[in-house]
């Protein structure tokens, strides 16, 4: 589904990713762990198409297509999703109008007619229930005045609406209390099928108690230094990154 080969990425003159290799197949859940500044978020952002990064070497193919030849919206329409670590606030744009625009663009891409307002609202209500989001959020500005937990729920809700093939969740657990963490994780588990795949970027083992990964990677200084099964997360938790780095 996703194949990354020897990926090098710069921000300005600074090299952030220094040769990443990663294969993700459908039905898998990957976890990417690593200390601050190791390049976890950069990897997710560059795959989603954030323009501030420069790809200086290597390749990434999604569903057989060259990811870097596509605009961010084309990647999204092909089924790539990024759950933001810091979801963006957009005052004046309501959640409902935001999602309507996104869903209908996706449908246009699949040669489907736009959803009627009634159909759309029905789907929206169903998906909001998955993350136990209050219906009043529909008419509110995108992420405006949302708490940290509400913003993360909103990311998962958007993911539920768009039904991506591959979703990167960038530190979706940061800033969440235990209850919110459980709701978010349950949301992800409900959306998991044998056909899609998830990459969960996290600092902590805690989220991985709820979303159980098949494969765990540790990134350090822009390279994947260890790849193993879910026991690697426990090892990080118990012995720290230093132990793996050295």
């Amino acid at each position: 589904m996703l194949s990354i080969k020897d990926l090098h990425v710069n921000i300005g003159d600074k090299e952030i990713l220094r040769g990443i290799n990663l294969e993700i197949k459908q039905g898998e859940i990957h976890a990417i762990m690593g200390p601050n500044g190791s390049g976890k978020s950069t990897l997710a952002a560059v795959l989603a198409g954030r323009e501030m990064f420069t790809v200086t070497g290597g390749s990434a193919h999604f569903m057989g297509q060259d990811l870097f030849a596509m605009t961010p919206e084309e990647r999204a329409r092909m089924g790539l999703f990024l759950g933001f670590q810091y979801p963006v606030e957009i005052p004046g744009l309501t959640n409902v109008n935001f999602m309507k625009a996104a869903v209908n663009e996706q449908r246009k891409h699949k040669n489907l007619p736009p959803l009627s307002s009634a159909e759309f609202l029905k789907i929206m209500r169903e998906k909001m229930a998955i993350v136990q989001m209050d219906p009043s959020f529909v008419g509110r500005g995108v992420n405006v005045g949302f708490s940290g937990g509400e913003k993360k729920r909103n990311e998962i809700f958007q993911m539920a609406m768009l039904e991506p093939r591959l979703a990167f969740l960038d530190e979706t657990d940061s800033g969440l209390d235990v209850d919110a963490l459980r709701v978010v994780a349950q949301g992800v588990n409900k959306l998991k099928t044998v056909e899609n795949a998830f990459v969960v970027i996290t600092h902590y083992q805690r989220l991985l108690d709820y979303i159980v990964p098949d494969i765990v990677h540790v990134i350090y200084k822009g390279q994947i230094i260890r790849t193993a099964g879910k026991e690697l997360a426990a090892e990080v938790e118990n012995r720290g990154y230093d132990h793996i780095i050295n």
């Binding site: 323009e51 605009t71 961010p72 919206e73 999204a76 963006v88 957009i90 744009l93 935001f98 891409h109």
Partner: protein, 345 residues
């Protein structure tokens, strides 16, 4: 939503679909009032001096029956046109007025409209100016408003399309307890220019004023905003707020914004703020990462930017009509609209 079309026989191809069934439409053709009104309910609408312009006098509560003045310029050999309109509300009266300015041809029209607003004690006027002309038109609106004790003026100006639009608005509050809410939205592209000159004078105590003006400028458009708030000695307990925010879509677009506060009383709350910015990169990426195209993301961000100005239009049906018009204006669909057959108000 009830819609009906007004197709006056004598007035060539002009139709105006308004979303309110109970709206009263009156035409002002080249400055001349077509349908004087004098009804028993307290609305008197007649021609002004020299048969030009109009005078509206209102008694009683008419806030639920909006009056729409459709002012159209249509002459084939246009001369500069100057006329005055006056809006007078008796004590305790209330009214909602929509003034739409259009041109039927693409000639160089120059229009100077002087407008006087007089609100009696406790009167309430909600007035909306829709400026929708064409590339060559030169339009000047000069409003002077006097507010009596405890009266309220809500004035919205929507500068949608025009070659050069100049809006002057002076509000005086010589009696205590008056309120004025002024807001405006200006959209300009190519080489269009829009100028706003606002002065709010707090001359007595306990008056409130609030201003919100926003603009989006594309291509080589120019705009200026001068906003003065004056608080006279003794005008204690004044509350006066002003905000002007601008979005520039290109490097060539220019805005000059000059907020001014002059305060001679010491127990007041006043603030002003002006910003000039561009579309937000991160916000655009967020929208695009959900599959929304760049053009659509830019559009959504612009609509989001102007939303709080539109939200100040209280009547829902009129507001949603304005939202649609602003959207089609921002999408560049207005260039063929100079003949006003697009049912745009």
């Amino acid at each position: 939503m009830t819609e009906y079309t007004y197709m006056p026989e004598v007035r060539r191809v002009f139709s105006c679909t308004v979303p309110n069934a109970n709206i009263r439409q009156v035409f002002l053709m080249d400055g001349i009032l077509q349908d004087p009104v004098s009804d028993a309910g307290g609305i008197v609408l007649q021609k002004g001096p020299d048969q030009m312009g109009l005078r509206l006098h209102i008694t009683g509560d008419h806030s639920d029956e909006p009056i729409q003045i459709i002012s159209v310029r249509s002459e084939d050999l246009p001369q500069p046109l100057e006329f005055s309109t006056s809006w007078e509300l008796a004590a305790g009266a209330s009214a909602q007025v929509i003034v739409c300015d259009h041109t039927l041809n693409e000639y160089l029209y120059r229009t100077f409209r002087f407008s006087q607003i007089k609100l009696g004690q406790g009167a309430r006027l909600d007035i909306l100016f829709m400026q929708n002309e064409h590339e060559l038109s030169r339009y000047c609106l000069d409003i002077k408003a006097g507010l009596d004790r405890d009266s309220q003026l809500d004035c919205h100006i929507l500068s949608l399309y025009g070659g050069t639009i100049q809006n002057k608005l002076q509000v005086s509050m010589p009696q205590p307890g008056a309120t004025c809410n002024l807001d405006g939205l200006y959209l300009a592209d190519r080489e269009q220019a829009v100028h706003y000159d606002i002065a709010v004078r707090h001359l007595s105590e306990g008056c409130h004023s609030q201003q919100l003006f926003k603009g989006i400028l594309d291509n080589k458009a120019r705009a200026s905003f001068n906003g003065a708030i004056y608080v006279a000695p003794g005008a204690q307990k004044t509350q006066a707020y002003q905000a002007n925010h601008n979005l520039l879509l290109t490097r060539e677009a220019k805005i000059t914004t000059k907020p001014q506060l002059e305060i001679y009383a010491d127990d007041v709350k006043c603030s002003h703020g002006a910003t000039i910015g561009r579309l937000d990169e991160l916000g655009l990426f967020y929208l695009r990462s959900r599959g929304i195209s760049l053009a659509e993301a830019q559009m959504l961000q612009q609509m989001a930017f102007v939303q709080d100005v539109l939200d100040r239009v209280h009547t829902r049906s009129i507001r949603s009509r304005l939202e649609k018009m602003v959207e089609s204006r921002l999408r560049g669909e207005f260039t063929r609209c100079s003949h006003c057959t697009m049912h745009c108000c």
